[in-house]
Subunit: 334 residues, 2 copies
């Protein structure tokens, strides 16, 4: 409809208000150097014409974009929590966020490419499978912060949860409830699986239960959990810690179908505190990542890099938190 008529620019406002373009710019930015009366009048005209600053032109000229590029995966529920936190944190330090999504048919590489063209000053990547070499290539151009995944490269900053600690919290919780025969369903070769498995082993050893440790192969999906459950049923432990929540629900389902009571016969702890895990139906005890801490660290780290401030450790590791819900309970003997 009105796609024909050009949007008003600084020049339009300037002629209408009878002042120079530069002065309008000053007023719009709230910069000093304009009289109170003129300021008022210019603002009025701008409002009347429906003037909207053109961020592209603005950023082009001023060199800086104060823009942070964020790559997230639409499929990953946890990424949405992270987004929420990031917006908050970015707002506080006066930076904007520009998002680029990874979808089943849109690769991480495409997502990153788009952001680079937008002249972001730093990139924040949620998880992802991008190879370290590729990441390093990007990090050679602008600061890169990887969230929720580890990257072994000196140019890439990392903010992640202390996964071994998370597993230990799970085991500690179960031991405190009286459990000894605690199994672990792992995530195979997925990011974080090794760390979570290691934490489980460490905790079992610390409690003197190394002999009772038992690791069953799992994965990221429900079906992986279901398969693991089938394997456990031959000789059920009294408690299980699972690689992630989705896997845990698959496991729960099979256990219950087989007549086991949760948590009466067996306790289950997930990992991630995915949104569905708090559904009354699932009500899963799990390990929650500290979204606030992760996002603020990611932002401050990115900004520090941009502004050339010295940053001490390349990797920030954040403690997770146990969330107790209905799938864990005291050991019932007899």
């Amino acid at each position: 409809m009105q796609s024909g008529d050009r949007r008003p620019t600084l020049a339009d406002v300037a002629t209408e208000a009878g002042v120079s373009v530069a002065l309008v710019s000053i007023v719009m930015r709230g910069a000093p150097g304009a009289g109170a009366a003129t300021r008022e009048r210019v603002l009025e005209v701008a409002r009347r014409l429906g003037y909207q600053p053109d961020s592209r032109a603005r950023l082009l000229r001023s060199g800086r974009s104060r823009l942070l590029g964020v790559v997230f995966d639409v499929r990953h529920p946890f990424h949405h929590d992270l987004l929420t936190g990031l917006y908050d944190a970015a707002g506080e330090v006066g930076y904007e966020l520009t998002l680029s999504a990874v979808t089943p048919r849109r690769e991480e590489h495409t997502a990153v490419e788009g952001l680079l063209q937008d002249r972001c000053e730093a990139l924040i990547l949620f998880g992802g499978r991008m190879r370290t070499a590729d990441l390093a290539g990007i990090a050679a151009r602008l600061p890169v912060v990887a969230l929720t995944r580890g990257v072994r490269h000196r140019d890439v900053d990392v903010v992640r949860t202390d996964d071994p600690l998370g597993s230990q919290q799970a085991v500690d919780h179960l031991v405190a409830l009286g459990h000894h025969r605690i199994a672990h369903v792992d995530g195979g070769t997925l990011h974080g699986s090794a760390e979570r498995r290691q934490g489980y082993h460490d905790a079992m050893r610390r409690h003197g239960l190394a002999d009772l440790a038992r690791v069953v192969p799992g994965g990221a999906g429900e079906e992986d959990g279901a398969r693991a459950a089938a394997q456990l049923l031959a000789d059920p432990p009294t408690a299980v810690t699972v690689f992630n929540d989705l896997c845990a629900t698959g496991l729960l389902d099979v256990l219950r179908r087989d007549g086991l009571d949760v948590p009466g016969d067996i306790s289950v702890v997930g990992y991630d505190d995915s949104s569905f895990s708090r559904l009354a139906h699932i009500d899963l005890t799990t390990i929650a990542q500290d979204v606030d801490a992760m996002t603020t660290h990611a932002i401050t780290r990115a900004v520090d890099r941009i502004e050339g401030n010295p940053v001490s450790p390349r990797e920030v590791v954040i403690a997770p938190r146990l969330v107790v819900r209905g799938t864990t309970g005291p050991l019932v003997t007899g």
Copy 2:
């Protein structure tokens, strides 16, 4: 680290390759007007310098941005499915997407504002609570397409699911299974609730079951479903259609806790096909919205508006689809 050294520009590539800026521009765009040998050489230099086009400058000059602004809500699982579809559809017609998220602490208004400054050529809004007057104000400036919500204003395009039809599909399914005493848990004053309720009533009437129609107040959350279930338990019907999936899971939970078997004693149909509804634990029969159709329609509509093509109906209504899972079964008599 290297945030100091400027990114290479067209001019850098030009001097390095010993040609004019304009020619480099031609080569980078793949436009005709450059010799094969030069083209090769320029590309090589560009690659070597790590040249990245600056989309801001590019768009500034060329007037058009070929950019569609998308506002989505991080909290809404269905929005992620929509995003996936939108990226696909936008890619096919050669437009880019720029995302702006609504979070618990970032309002729709802020999200829209950001997109306007980025000079999108059209806006696509997922749901949202923005007032019609505000929407109209934006639509006066650039095309606006509302997805999954109705808007009564001649300047705002609408793409939505045929909600009455969805409810009817649910009822038809239940009737085909032999059910007569079918109740409906509604969504109160929420978007779409009235339509879904109406569809339920129409379907009941069409099957000659108007006398058995029974509507119980519900809502969007689990707790609303739980409350509705408590109310239904006084005199349980043999089947229920529910406003949305989350509400349905809350209802399911209470029904099962009360000892009812689903679907043996009572069948339940949700609405939305939210991702969690296909979890084995929930396995909810539901009404799915046709993501592909919705997103392609939204994109083509936006593009048609941008390019000034005539568009016939302002509102595109898309048929939903019944997804049968484990919470519905044949009526068991006796």
